[in-house]
Symmetry: C2
Subunit: 151 residues, 2 copies
DNA sequence: CTGTTGACTTAGACAGTGTCTAAGGTAGGG
DNA sequence: CCCTACCTTAGACACTGTCTAAGTCAACAG
């Protein structure tokens, strides 16, 4: 991710302050922020950045394959800068934590040709759900953690 | 699904006309309607049924495990009455068609304990994406099909 | 059969997420 | 240093889902 700006320059993107801060917020690998979270963090660095610009920039990063969209629930999409290493996600049903995981077998091999109904299958998204270690120990703390996260 | 009403009676549900038509709309297995689609079909049978009641009823059916929620994209959730036979989904990127598929191996076995980070994993959702046979043959027709579906 | 009552339904307001438009601003080439 | 095409902005709008207060009725008791 550290040379994302170089790659964007190579794509002849205009390097604006807004795009720089969005890239900077996404710079830590293994994050899965919502657009609003990214906007809040970007605004801490560049207060006048608008919601529309964050959505525009994220949409462009997704379109060129530098960022992945992750829809784990029916809530806001999450944006994943770890786009250059195929992986899947492990989600806690209680607190919503998301972790990257790397299954030992390609999830595509589980689907025989006979079960593809003529589809040309090119991608597969796997979401493993359960409880994280913190939430598994004491559901009261788990519930409040979720409440905190949603507040 | 045909004895869904019997199961609801056994759970001491009040059998209202509204709940009956929602159950009737979901009666055909292998459908994946949005709440709005279910409301439209239910209203064709019982014109005065409200959106709120459709959402309430679907939420209750999901809570008791008679219907599954499916979030394939960031759009509206889809409601799946095929809850008594574990399956996964195959989605066309172009027209949005959803098909039930039955992988030959349990998707959970692909995730070794070492990759679970202490999580207690209880469920897994797999979404296979690609192009359906119709859309693979001629992307113009495919694009218009998606436009139609969204209109 | 009839009356009672708590569960159910309703319209519409509201909230969260994402898209669009028109007007103004600016990065980068010349 | 100027231009101009591309970018950003505020805010309106659309879609999806939730909530509330008031009215209605399914089921049961008598
Ligand atoms: Mn990830
Ligand atoms: Mn299904
Ligand atoms: Zn947790
Ligand atoms: Zn298709």
């Amino acid at each position: 991710m550290s040379d994302l700006l170089a790659r964007l320059r190579a794509r002849r993107w205009r390097l604006t302050a807004q795009r720089r801060v969005v890239a900077q917020v996404l710079d830590g690998d293994h994050v899965h922020f919502t657009a609003e979270e990214i906007h809040a963090r970007a605004a801490a660095l560049l207060p006048e950045i608008s919601r529309a610009t964050v959505y525009n920039t994220l949409g462009e990063l997704v379109a060129i394959g530098e960022v992945l969209e992750v829809s784990t629930d029916g809530r806001a999409k999450r944006y994943d800068p770890n786009a250059h290493h195929a992986h899947q996600h492990l989600v806690c049903d209680s607190c919503g934590t998301i972790r990257d995981v790397h299954p030992s077998v390609d999830p595509l091999v589980g689907l025989p040709t006979a079960e593809r109904y003529g589809f040309t299958v090119s991608r597969v998204a796997v979401t493993y759900r359960g409880l994280c270690p913190d939430c598994a120990a004491g559901s009261a703390g788990a519930a409040s953690a979720l409440t905190d996260a949603e507040a």
